[in-house]
């Protein structure tokens, strides 16, 4: 639809130089439609982004006026032993969480896709956790992970005489325990998306492959997986961002020792929250958010680049 070709309103051929041409009128509509959104994105997205960058260069406790300190917050951050730990934790969530949840959800989606009997029922079982509230379920899991005699899992284990696992009370296992909760909560979504991706593959491909005499495994490897790639790329990026920004579960599962024993579960977002809203070091917290932004950007771009279409 090219607006340029429509000079004047159809009904008025005798007045070619009218000011309110069709095009001008449409432009008015366009910017009328966009006025509030443009204002919104400017004030609620772009201005705060710039503000966060600026704050990261200041020392500010909310009480006195902010003072400009250059890159001091960043130097402090990279020298902060807590940040080292938090940085490793954040990537531990990503590096374990994303592959495990993707592989699990693909296997389940692949199997579920071939099941007819009770399909809707089975799918509902897997999808239900996704629509629960993370903060509520974090408490349920926290209870599951308790040591005997109250912890559900440990009680189950000790019923078989198996020594209990420390889970949240261990610096080694606390992070994986919380990660399992996050995987559990997000699995349903990934399964559904994978199933949608599987459905989108035209059946003719499979038929052709079968005529060529390919076995199940070969079909999976040579047809299904390659054709599923856009879905996989989307899920890799989506789930990575989710794990890098993990907060709800950690916050709720470790309220009496925030971030787990010796900070062993503390992700970057919790550190940001504590720095900004318990210690009121706004500048320092802003610098941490800039680092988070950079991490997210680099990880997403890197993934898109690695998984790009090779032609």
């Amino acid at each position: 639809m090219a607006l340029t070709e429509q000079g004047a309103p159809a009904g008025r051929p005798d007045r070619p130089h009218v000011f309110w041409t069709m095009r001008r009128r449409q432009l008015l509509w366009v910017w009328g439609f966009l006025a509030v959104p443009v204002l919104f994105y400017g004030v609620i997205r772009f201005y705060p982004t710039g503000h966060a960058f600026w704050l990261s260069l200041t020392d500010w406790d909310l009480m006195s006026d902010p003072s400009f300190i250059g890159l001091d917050n960043y130097t402090r951050l990279f020298a902060d032993p807590q940040f080292g730990r938090v940085f490793r934790n954040t990537f531990a969530y990503l590096i374990m969480g994303t592959p495990i949840s993707l592989i699990l959800s693909f296997i389940i989606a692949y199997a579920l896709d071939r099941v007819r009997f009770g399909h809707t029922f089975l799918r509902a079982l897997y999808f239900l956790p996704f629509i629960t509230t993370a903060s509520a379920m974090a408490w349920v899991w926290r209870w599951f992970y308790q040591p005997a005699p109250i912890g559900v899992i440990n009680d189950f284990l000790s019923g078989f005489g198996i020594p209990q696992m420390a889970f949240l009370n261990s610096t080694t296992w606390a992070l994986p325990s919380i990660m399992v909760t996050a995987i559990w909560a997000g699995l349903g979504f990934q399964i559904i998306i994978f199933m949608a991706g599987l459905r989108a593959i035209p059946t003719t491909y499979y038929e052709a492959a079968r005529i060529d005499g390919l076995g199940e495994w070969a079909i999976l490897r040579r047809i299904t997986l390659p054709l599923l790639k856009p879905t996989t790329v989307f899920l890799v990026v989506f789930s990575s961002i989710g794990f890098l920004r993990i907060f709800d579960q950690v916050y709720n599962m470790t309220t009496n020792d925030p971030g787990g024993p010796l900070g062993s579960t503390k992700p970057l977002v919790l550190m940001i929250y504590q720095t900004a809203f318990s210690s009121y070091q706004m500048g320092y917290a802003a610098a941490q958010t800039v680092v988070l932004f950079t991490i997210l950007l680099v990880v997403s771009l890197l993934q898109l680049w690695i998984l790009r279409e090779r032609t």
């Binding site: 926290r142 040591p147 009370n169 900070g263």
Partner: protein
């Protein structure tokens, strides 16, 4: 002090300003949510409003975990309260952030304060100014589960009086199931609860040390005494095996659930423990060391006047603060909340000292210390981490203690810079 306040109240009452402005002044009072505290304060407000017809008090509450954040947020938005409750350990932050204002010495004469209140009120003094007054103070004591003691063949009427007896009795109570898991703990270990206070102000002193220098600026527990105190604490799990950190998630939950013989906790826990129906419990003074030395940690929430209160609101706020730190208010607070009066006269009554529940806490107040926190949350976290280094990561007591002392010194230095 009482007279001073009365006088100030009278003066305010007869000043033409207040008389003409008799159309209700509304002031806002903030505290954190805790059922009994909210009930007690509602009662105090009702009494106060009856005595002061021109003033209404709006009572606003927040969950404890968010309380500080809420106060700072409201202060930023200039919607701060006229009178608010704050933990004495937050005083530095609240004064620095101009959340609260100094009490005027005319309305609250210093000599009166120092004469009537327990000495720990000094933790609200900065320079020449008092920044708040407590209604109630809290101290620690040892709670014990009588049923578990009986089941272990102990006499439920002779709870431990020394640390050695404590360990010995806790050992008798501890039960382990077939898989080797703790089923009943002799003693709760929860640095995130009150144990960090117990360690800092009680155990360290009982083992011959001191946690901080007199002015609170220097950490002094990194010595043999501190190490012995820390070893005593961590050995409860590692050597004596009478407790386990994280057992039942929190120490108070383990005791409440009837799964722990002893727990160190404060007056503020009485309300929660009074709802226990499944077993009998008792409370006794914190155990002494072998030489009979006792110590205790006392703390309090003070009430202070918000920085934003001015003019007639400030006058009303002063009257209200005077009322809620009066002897009458303290008595109501003790009855409803179970927290000890902050004025000597109201606390050390014969009736209170004969009360089996209050007496151990009141006795504790006589020799109690208070820690001059600069950042209570961070310092508590530091102590939790210290114990975790030993209990989870297997570091030696000396290493963990040295790391904790250095980290806490850094926290204090940053705050006092």
């Amino acid at each position: 002090m009482h007279k001073g306040i009365l006088l100030a109240g009278l003066m305010a009452g007869i000043s033409p300003f207040t008389v003409t402005a008799a159309q209700a002044v509304e002031i806002e009072y903030w505290q954190y949510v805790f059922e009994t505290r909210v009930n007690a304060m509602d009662q105090l407000i009702a009494n106060f409003e009856a005595q002061n017809p021109g003033i209404t008090v709006k009572h606003v509450t927040f969950p404890y975990a968010d309380y500080q954040t809420r106060v700072v947020a409201a202060n930023m938005a200039r919607q701060g309260p006229d009178v608010l409750q704050l933990f004495y350990g937050w005083a530095d932050q609240f004064i620095g952030g101009r959340v609260i204002q100094p009490l005027s010495p005319e309305a609250f004469p210093h000599a009166q304060i120092e004469e009537d209140f327990f000495p720990i009120v000094s933790a609200m003094k900065r320079g020449d100014d008092y920044y708040g007054l407590p209604t109630a103070v809290r101290s620690l004591a040892l709670f014990y589960n009588k049923n578990l003691m009986e089941a272990a063949g102990l006499d439920p009427n002779t709870p431990p009086t020394t640390l050695d007896e404590l360990v010995e009795q806790a050992k008798a109570i501890t039960q382990v199931d077939a898989a080797g898991n703790m089923a009943v703990a002799g003693m709760t270990l929860d640095m995130g609860g009150q144990d960090h206070q117990w360690w800092r102000e009680v155990l360290v002193r009982q083992f011959g040390g001191a946690p901080y220098s007199e002015d609170g600026r220097t950490v002094t527990y990194n010595d043999a005494a501190g190490a012995a105190a820390l070893k005593f604490f961590t050995d409860l799990q590692l050597v004596e095996k009478v407790g386990q950190r994280g057992f039942m998630d929190e120490g108070q939950a383990a005791f409440r659930g009837g799964k722990a013989g002893f727990t160190v906790d404060g007056t503020f826990r009485l309300g929660s423990f009074r709802t226990i129906e499944d077993f009998e419990w008792g409370v006794t003074e914190l155990p002494a060391n072998a030489d009979g030395l006792r110590s205790n940690y006392a703390s309090y929430f003070a009430n202070a006047i918000g920085a934003g209160a001015q003019g007639e609101e400030l006058e009303a706020a002063e009257k209200f603060l005077a009322y809620i730190s009066s002897e009458e208010a303290m008595k109501i607070w003790l009855d409803v909340v179970g927290e000890l009066p902050a004025r000597r006269a109201a606390a050390m009554t014969e009736e209170n000292l004969a009360n089996p529940v209050y007496a151990p806490f009141l006795k504790g107040l006589e020799y109690a210390r208070t820690t001059l926190f600069v950042d209570e949350a961070a310092q508590r976290q530091n102590t939790i981490d210290m114990a975790n280094r030993i209990l989870i990561e297997g570091q030696t007591v000396e290493e963990a203690l040295a790391a904790a002392a250095a980290a806490e010194q850094a926290i204090i230095d940053r705050a006092k810079k």
